[in-house]
Symmetry: C2
Subunit: 214 residues, 2 copies
């Protein structure tokens, strides 16, 4: 059965985005530190069309997180805000460039209806205004039997967790202290019930914890 797999980086003090999120800085202040462990990796570079890079304990975690994924769901901030405000005459393509690293259908949770956006490399962004369950249903259909990745951000993750719809969580814990921002584990109610730790991987600058529901 197709599983919904959350993959997210979190600071030791529990934040997945820093304070003062904005269109100019959708991750918030300081939170680029949550992702720096990934940038030198060969597997990350290959996703972004770059050669070379390192192999370390994180490599197989990233490879595992990419395996058997047929579609991705993300919140609107993660797709990218609209600089200068929403303007249907000048729709833009988010933060991801002409050839986004997904190479499969991506479903964006938003309140703004918009035509799907097909880009190079097999990535299509579909904008879903009917809520998280509708987005999951569409993503599952698009995934054709494979799993669905939930890429964040905080609010999207919280909503799916609270609804009990997440089957697996890969928490990439970075020992940074952001001090404030958007917490992952807030407003999730009983949504964490039933998760069991599957494995822990210690790697340079990050510890990977995988949880799954039985």
């Amino acid at each position: 059965m197709s599983r919904l797999r959350l993959k997210i980086a979190m600071s030791l003090d529990g934040f997945v985005a820093g304070p003062n999120q904005s269109v100019q800085n959708p991750l918030g202040i300081g939170s680029m530190r949550l992702h720096q462990w990934a940038f030198p990796l060969a597997v990350w570079r290959a996703m972004h069309g770059l050669e070379g890079g390192e192999v370390n304990e994180s490599s197989r975690v990233v490879e595992e997180s990419l395996a058997n994924i047929g579609a991705t769901i993300m919140g609107r901030n993660m797709f990218g805000g609209h600089p200068g405000g929403w303007n249907p005459a000048k729709p833009w393509n988010g933060w991801w460039g002409d050839n986004p690293p997904f190479h499969h259908p991506v479903f964006v949770l938003t309140h703004h209806a918009r035509e799907p956006l097909a880009l190079r490399g097999g990535t299509t962004f579909t904008f879903v205004t009917a809520g998280i369950e509708a987005a999951l249903e569409q993503a599952r259909r698009a995934a054709g039997g494979k799993d669905v990745s939930l890429a964040g951000g905080a609010k999207a993750a919280q909503q799916y967790l609270a609804a009990g719809l997440v089957d697996e969580m890969e928490i990439n814990l970075v020992p940074a202290l952001l001090g404030s921002g958007e917490r992952l584990f807030e407003r999730v109610g009983d949504g964490l019930h039933g998760f069991e730790l599957m494995r822990t991987v210690a790697a340079p600058g990050v510890t990977h914890f995988k949880f799954a529901k039985a």
Copy 2:
């Protein structure tokens, strides 16, 4: 110079005590899981007068956390509540038994004035009603040049962090999800500013992160 060193166990979702803390269950529901990594260790057993036990990657972290400590500060819940309510005619000795594992002066933050309590093995509990700075001053004096350990719980840790008085933090991160309870990193304001990661130790059932201010 004598440093204030916080040592605390935290769940992956950020809690240092579970929900429904009470006199009967001062750690709250489920939070015994935060400490289970320590119980099999020879160094932990020796502190509690027990023989045998395991040696693993956590052993040197625990040894390090005990080294050069001359006094301990703790919150009142950690000393132990008063079953049936506070009764000066029947003062009790907290959760720690006749021979507590500290073997040095311990300062308990409380609103109830009380005579010091000297127990076997060199542990004396002194009850401080004048606030966190007074407790730190007394603990520093008692430590005679050694460091002071801040043993928790959540509220005591938050207060010292918020006041910028903590010099070092040993966070024993346990990949459990408590879902609710008392968070460590809440109401700390800018108190985390200046902490740098000193080292990470991956061990069975726990990851140890040490932060210090320069």
